[in-house]
Amino acid sequence: MILLRRIWDHDLAWSFRRSPVTVVAAALTVICVGAALLAPWASPQDPFDMAALNLSDAFTPPAWEDKGMASYPLGTDNQGRDILSTIMHGARISLGVGIAAVLFALVLGVSLGLLSGYLGGRVDAVIMRIADVQLSFPAILIALLIDGFARVALPGDRHEDLAIPVLVLAIGFAGWVQYARTVRGSTMVEKEKEYVQAARVIGRRPLAIMLSHVLPNVTGPVLVIGTIHIATAIITEATLSFLGVGVPATRPSLGTLIRIGNEFLYSGEWWITVFPGLALVVLVLSVNLLGDWLRDALNPKLR
């Protein structure tokens, strides 16, 4: 109880409560994440179970329309899959890939940033040049590059199994630089501080100092970057899936759903693409707003 009270009273919680936009954004994020996580149990229908599908129900419009049915609240697609269910499962894939990619980019970026900032010299020069080169390419292009390379390098029959891991790696590699740069800057500042020198006088090794002393002090901005990066990663994945090079169609993400639904947009079955599109927007927007709030709340100068 006391712990809850202390969390409630904390500066961060106070700033959170004061901003209605953030509260709404957080609520939406929780709903999206919850729906996505619980999809296998909470969705009205399992859209990937061929046996459960009823082809004659295909192209049913949303429930509030003329020919809609209550059992399909947002309508069905061309194969009779319930749109609400596909959205929930699709969000699961989108979020899963997004978060995994961000975690990978974070670990890679923070490690390289720490090494670069602490060791300086040639290590720093090499890592930063690679970062600079990579920054001159758009993230999508890098992800496409890695994905394409994987397709060529891996045997054909493994493509589908490895599609998602490859995608995670691709998006992750595309995004490590921002973490590395921030951490490098903070590390260079912390390195000069006397508590690091005190640890050196005691005789600790550079790696121990980096991990136990410097790392806890440079991770602040990383949290903010990571949160906003989730939104970007989800969009990147959606774009790749929309282009057809992302997740395979058998386990569609929101991006894939948008692509599939696109074909039917002009023949009048608008709900097949619009609802997944809306879901993507809501998800990304709320995560983004949450990240924005976090960045401002943690900025000591604005307090």
């Binding site: 006397e194 508590y195 020198q197 005190a198 050196r200 005789g203 002393h213 806890p216």
Partner: protein
């Protein structure tokens, strides 16, 4: 047999512009000689003070002694067991994310000394419960006490103190200085006390070295240095200290400023500001003889 021996120690820093700039702008390499041929012996149980203004190299000497830098020339010989250091900034010298207990315990864990954190905290005037707190919950003076506890945790016989009280209020400074002298008596410690504040050094030091642009210009027992300063720079420094006693003593006005250490004057580096400089001072670097490096003193002119 001195506990610490510095023999003609020098330290250079490469402050050249980056390689690309040098090539494109045809700029030369620039080397900063922060410490220049410093020789110093410190005996067990002594407190040696090292004074000088900013840029004189005293902090670099401290870091050379504890091994944070390696000497470019010369030798450093330490015959004791362990050295520890206390730093100037009480806010930056403790890791803000670590609890006080872990901060003080780090040397114990790493070096395997048989100390106890609670006992060390008590020794420096804090409570053992303070171990659970974080550094930001303490004032500047208390943080310096924590730094001292951490230094003692390593069971040092020699403590290098780099401006340990410069960032503290005068009343807190007095408490910390008293603590340090108590600890020295009880534990038989040897101190190198670095400061730009001559009054503080006069309170704590047995012998005092005065540094200017990387060289020691005078080294003498404290009582002698403060009552009968020989080197013109020492005299100038003592004259510049504000006179709290308001004795109305006559003061020679201070001349000029510390020159750029990247382009030091020739010969005796103090000659542009020295009222007794002659041609020899402009040409020849004075040798350090009998505790002072000054042509005029050796020639009997002053």
């Amino acid at each position: 047999m001195p506990l610490l021996k510095l023999e003609r120690v020098s330290r250079d820093f490469d402050v050249s512009p980056p390689w690309l700039n040098r090539v494109l702008d045809h700029e030369p390499r620039r080397i900063l000689r922060a410490v220049d041929q410093v020789s110093l012996d410190i005996d067990k149980g002594e407190t040696v003070g090292l004074v000088g203004e900013s840029g004189c190299g005293k902090s670099t000497v401290a870091r050379l002694i504890v091994g944070l830098y390696a000497p470019t020339e010369g030798r450093i010989e330490y015959c004791g067991r362990r050295l520890q250091m206390i730093f100037q900034d009480p806010y930056a010298s403790l890791n803000p994310r670590w609890r006080v207990h872990d901060i003080v315990a780090e040397p114990i864990r790493f070096l395997g000394t048989p100390q106890k954190v609670e006992e060390l905290l008590r020794q420096v005037g804090l409570s053992p419960d303070d171990g659970e707190k974080y550094p930001h919950e303490f004032s500047g003076g208390q943080r310096q006490r924590i730094s001292i506890a951490r230094a003692l945790a390593g069971e040092p016989d020699f403590l290098v103190c780099d401006e340990p009280t410069s960032a503290l209020d005068v009343s807190v400074q007095a408490q910390i200085l008293n603590l340090m002298s108590d600890l020295q008596r009880r534990l038989g410690l040897t101190y190198l006390f670095i400061s730009h504040n001559l009054a503080v050094v006069s309170q704590v030091a047995d012998r005092v070295g005065v540094m200017y642009l990387g060289r020691i210009v005078e080294l003498a027992p404290a009582a002698q240095l403060f009552s009968r300063p020989r080197h013109p720079y020492t005299r100038m420094l003592l004259d510049a200290v504000p006179d709290l006693g308001m004795s109305g003593r006559p003061r020679t006005p201070v001349r000029g400023e510390v020159p750029n250490p990247l382009a030091p004057p020739s010969g005796c580096t103090f000659h542009p500001r020295c009222p007794h400089a002659n041609e020899r001072c402009r040409r020849e670097v004075p040798a350090f003889i009998d505790g002072v490096a000054c042509h005029a003193v050796l020639e009997g002119r002053i």
